[in-house]
């Protein structure tokens, strides 16, 4: 629970650092230091929490070992994010202290979403996560694409907030409580129309936020238009947090009505996988391809919403960890490139072998090739859904779609290793120093480690 307070306080400190520190380097160092503090707090939380759920703040929040582990994984990935991208974040605009502060405020929302126990906190968490992201999306003020991304993200986000609130209110009308665990009683007896309508509204709202089809239309433009330094944050950390909230709500409150909403989730999974993977094939820009691939990955994360068992909890930890690490790696390489098209990657392996190797492993993991974390992530997701009686054709469809994803991920690898180019692929003034390479290698090593010992994240 300390982690929520810590991230909010660190955000305030970072915001004030803009006044007291004059050099960009000082602010960067402070942000890196703050992310390390956050990680330490997360580890302390893991050691304190047991399997018993403890309530905080009059039952508004609840923590147990699972939420603490998820917080630790997210805190670790935010630390890597700050390490890998702090240089680029400072370059986005003049207000670098504010960017770091906004990232930490968004993280406060993330940690609320992983351990809320009341719909109140669900709403606040989603808003605290979203509002800083609207600003981050538009932080490159001179770029029309960034402005467009910001406006589009804002309008879509505010629109889906309306649905979220309507859903919460209708559920409250049906049960008379905002408490997630007390609503579980709803399974007994015939559910009222208001409750079913409320669940539908909540699926729509959370589908919007998690960029599941058919509510994904904003995703490619927003991820493509935002400054590349902030896209990995939106695509990985924020998305995993939204899914943690989605899964917690549907497992704790609506499990009794599973027969009613399972069919909708199946339809959303099939649509998301189909649209995400098939559209990604036709993209010219790697950044836009990754935006579509993040929609496709959301399809796999939705399997955890369907399956109402323990495996899905392990699955979200493992899938979340490997997805976040892989996204960080590939974007850390992408941001150093001059040209974001597939041809821009030509001959990268000769000029920058470390970057090319890190990108290749990240893409292997996103595609779900064995010996990388992504393979076991997908395995746990599908296994959990199968044990909960998901129709077998959906699982086969998901595997087929993963096979399609191999095609567009491997186009990048092909460009890097088997094509040649006369000029340098990387940006001339990009900082590719030793600490950056070391962090990238650590990131890659962790992805491989997750592929060999997947239990490392579930036990710790």
């Amino acid at each position: 629970m300390n982690i929520i307070i810590a991230s909010a306080l660190l955000g305030v400190v970072l915001m004030l650092s803009g006044v007291f520190l004059n050099h960009a380097k000082g602010k960067r160092t402070l942000a890196i230091f703050a992310s390390i503090i956050l990680m330490v707090v997360a580890v302390v939380d893991v050691m304190q929490n047991t399997n018993n759920t403890i309530l905080h703040f009059n039952g508004l929040m609840a923590t147990n070992s699972f939420t603490a582990k998820l917080n630790a994984v997210i805190a670790f990935c935010s630390m890597l994010y700050i390490f890998l991208f702090s240089n680029e974040i400072s370059k986005v605009g003049l207000n670098d202290a504010e960017y770091f502060a906004l990232i930490f405020f968004a993280l406060t929302g993330v940690f609320i979403l992983t351990s809320y126990q009341n719909m109140f906190m669900l709403f606040l968490g989603i808003e605290i996560l979203s509002i800083p992201q609207y600003i981050l999306a538009g932080s490159d003020k001179r770029n029309v694409k960034s402005n467009e991304a910001s406006l589009k993200y804002f309008l879509m986000g505010a629109f889906s907030t309306g649905f979220l609130l309507m859903g919460i209110t209708l559920i409250y009308g049906a049960t008379g409580t905002f408490d997630v665990s007390k609503m579980a009683l709803m399974g007994s007896g015939e559910p009222s129309t208001i409750a079913l309508l409320g669940i539908l509204f909540l699926i729509v709202a959370l589908g919007f936020k998690a960029s599941a089809a058919p509510f994904h239309v904003w995703t490619p433009d927003v991820y493509d238009g935002s400054p590349t330094a902030f896209t990995p944050f939106m695509a990985s950390i924020a998305k995993v947090a939204i899914f943690a909230a989605f899964i917690h709500l549907f497992h704790a409150s609506f499990a009794g009505l599973a027969g009613r909403w399972h069919i909708i989730i199946i339809a959303i999974i099939v649509l998301t996988l189909l649209i995400g993977n098939v559209t990604a094939v036709y993209q010219q820009s790697v950044k836009r391809m990754l935006a579509y691939s993040s929609i496709a990955q959301a399809g796999f994360l939705l399997f955890a919403v369907y399956s109402l068992n323990e495996i899905s909890q392990k699955g979200i930890l493992l899938y979340g960890a490997s997805y976040m690490l892989a996204t960080m790696s590939i974007f850390a390489v992408l941001i150093k490139m001059k040209d974001y098209t597939f041809d821009g990657f030509n001959g990268l392996a000769k000029k920058q072998p470390v970057l090319a190797f890190a990108a290749a492993i990240a893409l292997f993991s996103l595609a779900g090739i064995p010996l990388t974390g992504g393979f076991f992530g997908k395995y746990y997701m599908l296994n959990g859904a199968m044990q909960n009686g998901m129709p077998i054709w959906v699982l086969i469809f998901a595997v087929l779609m993963a096979a399609i994803s191999v095609y567009y991920y491997f186009k990048v690898i092909q460009a890097m290793y088997f094509k040649t180019s006369i000029q340098d692929a990387t940006e001339p003034d990009a900082v590719i120093d030793v600490p950056f390479k070391v962090m990238l290698i650590i990131n890659t090593a962790l992805l491989i480690l997750l592929g060999i010992y997947p239990t490392i994240v579930t036990i710790f």
Binding site: F120, F123, L124, E127, I131, Y134, I135, G138, K141, V144, K145, N147, E148, S150, L151, K152, F154, L155, A158, F159, T161, G162, L165, M166, T169, L170, Y172, G173, G176, F178, I194, D221
Partner: protein
Amino acid sequence: MPIQYYLYLSLALFCTGIIGALMRRNAIVILMCIELMLNAVNLLLVAFSNHFNDASAQIFVFFIMVVAAAEVSIGLAIIVLMYRRVHSIDINILNRLKN
């Protein structure tokens, strides 16, 4: 008055908001429609609060109002930023600029 009346009224307001947000092209009008959606929810929450004799829903209303205010302040800032760039707040212009 039965609770259903409030439910129908606020659902009608909510649908007005959705239709407005989807049909209108002016960013500020869309923002107003989204506010209408949130206020429909507020109305329903207060009605349910009275129905259940439970104050927590009324507290929720205050939080929604605060968050909506924060959201609008960000939204208007983004719209001003947009206006400075393209001298319009029509969201169709955005799609035209992309090509």
